[in-house]
Symmetry: D2
Subunit: 345 residues, 4 copies
Amino acid sequence: MIRAGVVGATGYAGAELVRLLAGHPEVALTILTSRQYAGKPFVDIFPSMKGIVDIVCEAYDAGQAGEKADVVFMALPHKLPMNFVPELLKNGKKIVDLSADFRFSSASAYEAVYQPHTAKDLLEQSVYGLCEVFRERIRNAALIGNPGCYPTSVILPLYPLIKNGFVDAASIIADSKSGVSGAGRSLSLASHYCEVTESFKAYKVDGHRHQPEMNEILSLAAGYPVNITFVPHLLPMSRGMESTIYANLKKSVSYPDIYDCLADFYSGCPFIRLTDNGRPPDTAHVRGTNFCDIGFVLEKGKNRIILMSVIDNLVKGAAGQAVQNMNLMMGLAESAGLNAVPFPI
Amino acid sequence: MIRAGVVGATGYAGAELVRLLAGHPEVALTILTSRQYAGKPFVDIFPSMKGIVDIVCEAYDAGQAGEKADVVFMALPHKLPMNFVPELLKNGKKIVDLSADFRFSSASAYEAVYQPHTAKDLLEQSVYGLCEVFRERIRNAALIGNPGCYPTSVILPLYPLIKNGFVDAASIIADSKSGVSGAGRSLSLASHYCEVTESFKAYKVDGHRHQPEMNEILSLAAGYPVNITFVPHLLPMSRGMESTIYANLKKSVSYPDIYDCLADFYSGCPFIRLTDNGRPPDTAHVRGTNFCDIGFVLEKGKNRIILMSVIDNLVKGAAGQAVQNMNLMMGLAESAGLNAVPFPI
Amino acid sequence: MIRAGVVGATGYAGAELVRLLAGHPEVALTILTSRQYAGKPFVDIFPSMKGIVDIVCEAYDAGQAGEKADVVFMALPHKLPMNFVPELLKNGKKIVDLSADFRFSSASAYEAVYQPHTAKDLLEQSVYGLCEVFRERIRNAALIGNPGCYPTSVILPLYPLIKNGFVDAASIIADSKSGVSGAGRSLSLASHYCEVTESFKAYKVDGHRHQPEMNEILSLAAGYPVNITFVPHLLPMSRGMESTIYANLKKSVSYPDIYDCLADFYSGCPFIRLTDNGRPPDTAHVRGTNFCDIGFVLEKGKNRIILMSVIDNLVKGAAGQAVQNMNLMMGLAESAGLNAVPFPI
Amino acid sequence: MIRAGVVGATGYAGAELVRLLAGHPEVALTILTSRQYAGKPFVDIFPSMKGIVDIVCEAYDAGQAGEKADVVFMALPHKLPMNFVPELLKNGKKIVDLSADFRFSSASAYEAVYQPHTAKDLLEQSVYGLCEVFRERIRNAALIGNPGCYPTSVILPLYPLIKNGFVDAASIIADSKSGVSGAGRSLSLASHYCEVTESFKAYKVDGHRHQPEMNEILSLAAGYPVNITFVPHLLPMSRGMESTIYANLKKSVSYPDIYDCLADFYSGCPFIRLTDNGRPPDTAHVRGTNFCDIGFVLEKGKNRIILMSVIDNLVKGAAGQAVQNMNLMMGLAESAGLNAVPFPI
């Protein structure tokens, strides 16, 4: 059994990690940390897991974490992980960091949107944990920068099409919509039930930190610098993310051309599902799962493709992809612990 | 007092008309028709209005409607109004039709997306009831084709900018999201609570009937044929519609340039509100009202504008705009009966 | 025009007062106070009211409030109003206090569930503002203790039946359910969207502060001390409150006996509606209104009545009833400013 | 592997059975029937299960069902199963019927609330599938009448307390609230999103078919005929059911007395969880699971207990309990296929 710890276990992404790891057949959860709830049983915070998770939260301590766990998941706000990771790495631990701290390949790209980076030297060895794209590098990595939820939903449908020269990366517009859990469990008027229900709006239209993250990976696919247009919106629902993506085509293509390009690229990938006949994917169909469902339509009379992708922002957009990364790093089956049957509704 | 009747009063748009007309200071509601509920008191169907609306629904009869009402609102599915309107018009009634039957200027445009038109000769005199754009023509009209909800939300932010040469109409992409009430009160699995809650998805991506309606009006603004990209989505909420619209700019402009263009065009329009500093408008802020709130952002480093508009699909997107049209046709204050104070939440 | 001020205007009850007062035909809103948002325009906090309310929030100052307003609404947490009310009263202002500070007739009853009372002498002159029950006393009052939302929903269906000896007050069980807005706009994990949606639970089962408030009024009706069983629950919705009330009958009665008792007692009351044939009332039918809808069923083969009432917790349960109280105090029509037509959905 | 079939697989309970059986380690799903969708792949109806369930729905045929399955789940409206069950039983199949057809011990009790029973002779051998109460009889049964959702939530907290003489069964009042999925997937205005959201109401207050079902089992516990008061309500949510139950105590008891009584009775039961210190259970904590969480409070100064229970109406209230019954009948571990870790939110 692999011993796993979750640092920041009482946020929504952390608790979702607990859910997935507690049900993982080859993992033993050994340590859960929480600054706010140190000393309290985890089930006092999340009573749904009563009788299943029997761990008392503790304050983070590098020694403790290192001693009790082989793999450490960091489910903390950015800036904190870069302080904890170096020591854990030195002690031979495998780390999946769910913050942005190790997602960028260069410190300057990170610092342009976050703050000064204090563990720059590790950026070279960290791997961007988009499993379907960087699988081989992930297998050999010790430190994973787990992708943001928006980037996951935007990059997956686009990467193969850009890589294969189908779409003009300069033309990309991604209109994304996220459930409220993406904003985390911290208190905020923007997450108050009465402010969210029967409400829909865009936010951070003039710049969201996930945009540069998308640019970096899509530029890699394109071979030239890409700067997409990205607008996030807040949905009156708890879990789920949809991106509708508009892009110009670089050549005349048919529906099967695009379908085959995606199907080939994601052949053997257990969590990518293409919908039939371009049917728009529905967030409800991936709720609680690690799937990313993708559909698309070629607009009649135009050289434009409309791609749609859906994920559960807490699973494929956070905790599920983190577990998938762990599976790859530890030589387990890629879908171990991630194959619960989805809900019909 | 103006005597008003609602044909198709027990659908959601019809019932919303009843709400607005029952509270209108210069209107007396005199007749409500419903095929399904003929013979039943309206409040048996909508008990919220008990003690306020005291009318028994009846089956539609042209004579009855003509005798009892000066203005007739048609809140029926398309294809039905074109059978009823000619006789009412002949009898001197003013008509606001909420279906698509009289929205198009040419029968061929209509027939391309609906079905054969049986009252083609009336298309010449009918006026597209987008009040802020066609106010003067509406004042003199006897027959109004009340705009669709999506077209209202997409055309209002764009019309002044196209008209004034700011945006390239060929580049327009409208990503729209609607609450469930837009699909009406008819039974459908797609409107079942369990299928909608915690679900978000696009629909009719390969062609929605409101797209040609937008094209017609935007082409008018542009002076050349426009064919926009339009993708509607279904929101897990009852009322509310948001459109995020992407367009390329035709010249270098500043935020004040655009703001002034919109503010000037909509000067004196009681229902258009521009948000401050580009703040994204929120459907919750127009819930139950006839407002259309508009915000926008000029994307840094690109010649692209991102416009956002919100309306209540049942009010400015249907019944409210219909009453606004009636006000104009009957020489009343444009906002009569439409100035209830909005909810804070 | 009556000049009205709202102290604590940026909580949900306060903002709802602003909505109602801004639309009141005989009221001019003259002052809005907010500790948190002093110096900010009210519409920056509640953008729905842009173009309608043009007041800058200020910190509370007794002199200011007294100078600018004839009537002052206190929409503050309990304990604060008792500090502000004495001076305002001395200056001849009429006051409607939405907190619990002036709801009890004796300081000891208040202090048993709240904290020491610092304006005990005013309790004698303050009137419990349940308009339908204490209308005459309210007309002559200068200080109103506006009822709690739960008490309003529980007392209204019961009062006439207890008064007339139909039900055994000792047997009463009230199972109540409230929307989230009842918990206010303050930040709390319990009000986080993700914790509320798809969740339902009881709370404060071992004692809610509204229970003694109900006991006081129901004891008055009964003529002997009443101690009901009361369990509140939290509903995954924003506005709305339902109470299902179980009580034993003291004599053999028929449906018309009960119906007539309620109809007679509430004759001439514009906001009490009895449903037909015992149909269970629906919170959706009173949303945004000052109505209290009441239905009931006599259980077959038992001497038990099941009463059901619904209100909008922010209107009849708070701001609407407060305005109704002001109307009575100022000699206006009881329903002035409160007769907007309800939504069909 | 046990071969299992689901008759009526495309309703919500049927589809939930598919979810649980597809993930059951000792079950092979072999046949899914649906009158409405015969000939269509199951995943066309429930796309969430794409890649997981690869069965084409077929019309029900007794021969087919018998040949392909060892256990047959009937997820049909009442009245249909009684036609299908006799032949399947004759062929040695084990059957779990989710309708009411085989829940009652006498035909007359059934016929009083449903319709004439055409397989009366089987009522003697059918067992009421409330696993925690009738476990031993279930192990030896061939035909299970799977309990209704409301009865499950009401009987579980009460049975041990009545059995042990703690509560006066004649005094019981159960105030229950259910999510919309309990009404099934059939089209109905009552399940329309716009009618449900922001709405709460009681229904069938003068008699719900689940009430006699509760009476039968509670009478068994009491040893005398019990006729409880039961009022169901509809919650604006998809899954989840809560019952708040009021009962008089027959003797003076302490919190530990009641706790121990429940804990002892349910000792070794994997799906019953008692909350700590009377904390009200939350439907969100059992969402998607087979748990029934129970909490209670002894009212101060009264001889009354307030019990609260929560279940997921589609799992412990339907499909989950059905699988639990199958596990018992087939000699598997009681929780096989039912131990997915719950969601934190």
